[in-house]
Amino acid sequence: MDLQTLSYLFVGATFALYLGIAVWARAGSTKDFYVAGGGVHPVANGMATAADWMSAASFISMAGMISFMGYGGSVFLMGWTGGYVILAMLLAPYLRKYGKFTVPEFIGDRFYSKTARVVAVICLIICSVTYVIGQMKGVGVAFSRFLEVEYATGLFVGMVIVFFYAVLGGMKGITYTQIAQYCVLILAYTIPAIFISLQLTGNILPQLGLGGTLVGEDVYLLDKIDQVVTDLGFKQYSTDVRLSTLNMFAYTMSLMIGTAGLPHVIIRFFTVPKVKDARSSAGWALVFIAILYTTAPAVGAMARFNLMQTIEPSPGEYLVYEERPQWFKNWETTGLLVFEDKNGDGLVQYSADPATNDMVKIDNDIMVLANPEIAKLPNWVIALVAAGGLAAALSTAAGLLLAIASAISHDLLKGMIAPGITEKQELAASRVAMGLAIAGAGYLGLNPPGFAAGTVALAFGLAASSIFPALMMGIFSNRVNKEGAIAGMVAGIGVTLFYVFQHKGIMFIPGTEFLGSMKPNWFLGIEPNAFGVVGAIVNFAVAAAVSRFTAPVPQSVRELVEHIRVPVGASEATGH
C-alpha cells in the first residue's frame, strides 16, 4: 500500500477510536465535565496526564530543536521533566486537599479576594492561549504534511478538527481518550526510534544507542556527529551551549516552574481520589513522560546525522537536487523546507555559511515527522508517526481549551458575572469560549513567534512568572496577603510580557516589536523564552514587600492554610 493510503488509514482508525471513547464517556454534569467526578486511578491519571502534557511541542518539535541545538536542547529535556518534582512535592498534594475545580478558585479563596481570582483568570488565559498557538503550529505542520498542502491550509483543517474534538467531550471523555492517545503517541515515537537506533548503532534501546558506536565502525555516534557538523562550520553538537550558561540555567528553571504553574496540568491532580494519590500520580505521569523524553535526544541526534548523511554522503560528495528523495519534495510542498541553488550547480550544499548554504529553510518542527522517511523506514512506520503527532497535538490542545473554557465559564461567568446561570448555560458558555480560543490561537498560529517548542516555552515563562509564585506563597506562607498576591502576579507577568512582546511583537503580531535601541536579549543575555524565572523573582519580591506594609491575613485564611497542609480533615469538597 502506498504511504498516502496508509497514513489515512492509521490517522482515520486512531481518530475513530478517540471519538468513540469521547462519545461513550460523554460528560453529563459540570463536575464530570471538569474533573471526571474525582475518581480516576493514579496510574490511569498519570498516563492521561502524560498524554495531556506531551503536546505537539514534545512530540513533533522538541527532538527537532535538539537536532539543531545539540546540548543546548537539554533545557527542554530537564525543564519539562524536572517540573514534575516541584509539582509532586510543592503543589499537587495541597491543591488536591483543598479540593476545588480550578486554580483561580484556589487563588481567590486563599487570598480572600475576587480581584485576585480575576487576575489569576487573566494570567491563565494569557498562558493557555500562547500555549495553544504553539500547538497550532504543530497541528499545522502535521496536517500540511499529511494532506500534502501548504502550511496555512493544514493549520485551518487542524483548527476545525480540534474544535469538534474538544467541544464534544469534557474531562471525563478526555481522560479515557487521553489514555488511548498516550498509547498511540508513545508507540509512534519509540518504534521509529528503535528502528533507527538498530540501523545506526545495532542497539535496540535508543537511550543506549545514542551512547553507542556506529555499526561496522569503531567510532561513537556522538563523536561522529560532532565531527560531521563541525566540518561544515556548525557548532560542536555535544557541547553547544545555548547562548550562555546563565541563559541555560534560566531557561531550564523557567520551564520547570512553568510546568508547576500551568493550569491544565495542575487540574489533573484534582481528579485523583486521595492526597496520597496526587503524589504518586505525578510520579506515574513522569514515568510515562520519561519514556519519550529519554528517547528524544536519540531521535534528535540520529535525525541530524541521517539528514547530514543524505545531503552529503561523504565529504565533498553532494546530493543532486534533481535526484532528491520523495520526502524532500513533500516537505517542499508545505513550504517548510526550502532549497535555493546559490551557485547554480544543481547540487545540494548544506553548511553554516549563509553565502553558500543552499538549504535556506529547514523548519525544525519537520524533523521528527521527516525522520523515518529520511532513514528509509517502511511506510507503515511513517504513517504511524503521522497518527502519533496528531494524537499529541490534539490531546494537549483539548486539555488546554478545557482549562480556558473552565476559567471563563466557571471562574468568570458563574463565579462573578452571573452566579445564577444553570449548569446547561455554563456548559454552553464554555463551548463558546473554546471556539473563540481556537479561532484566536489559529489566527496567531499563522505567524507563530517561533518553532512549536519555543512558543510553548513562552507560555511556560508566563505561567512561571504569574501562577506558580501565587500558588507557592498561598501554600507555604500564611503571611502573604491579598494585596501582596495581586501586586505580585501583576508585576511578574507584566515584566515577562513586556520583555517577550518587546522581542516578539505584541501578542506576537509581526511588526509590533518595540525593541527600539535595545539589543536583543539585553537583560543579562537572557532570551525571552527563558525570562519567566526573572518574572517569578519579581513576583515573589513584590508580593513579600507589599504584604509587609498592608493588613495581615485574616484568621480564617490562616486556618485554611493549616488545613491544606494535612491530608485528612474537614471539607471533602469533591464529595466522593
Partner: protein, 88 residues
C-alpha cells in the same frame, strides 16, 4: 477539623518540609549542577559514547527525577500513617 493537635500538626509539617528540602537539593544538583554548572568539568569523564555532563543533561537527570517523586510519595505515606492522617 484536623485530628492533630496544634503541636502535632507543626511537627508533621516540619518533617514534611525537611524531607522536601533534602530531595530538592538532589533535584538541583543532578539538573542544574551536573547538567549545566558542572557541565564542562564532568565532560572530561566518559560513559560509553556519552560525555558525563551531556549524559546528565539529556538522560541522567530525568531518571533521578522519577526516583525522587516515588521516594517522596513513599516517605510521605509512612509519615501520614505515623501521624494517623492517612485517608481511608
Amino acid at each position: 477539623m484536623s485530628p492533630l493537635t496544634e503541636q502535632q500538626a507543626k511537627e508533621y509539617w516540619r518533617r514534611n518540609v525537611s524531607l522536601m528540602v533534602k530531595l530538592m537539593v538532589v533535584w538541583f544538583v543532578v539538573s542544574f549542577g551536573c547538567g549545566i554548572l558542572l557541565f564542562d568539568f564532568l565532560n572530561q569523564f566518559q560513559v560509553g559514547g556519552y560525555k558525563l555532563g551531556f549524559w546528565f543533561a539529556q538522560q541522567g537527570a530525568i531518571y533521578v527525577f522519577v526516583v525522587l517523586i516515588f521516594y517522596y510519595a513513599r516517605k510521605m505515606a509512612a509519615l501520614d500513617r505515623e501521624f494517623g492522617v492517612e485517608e481511608d
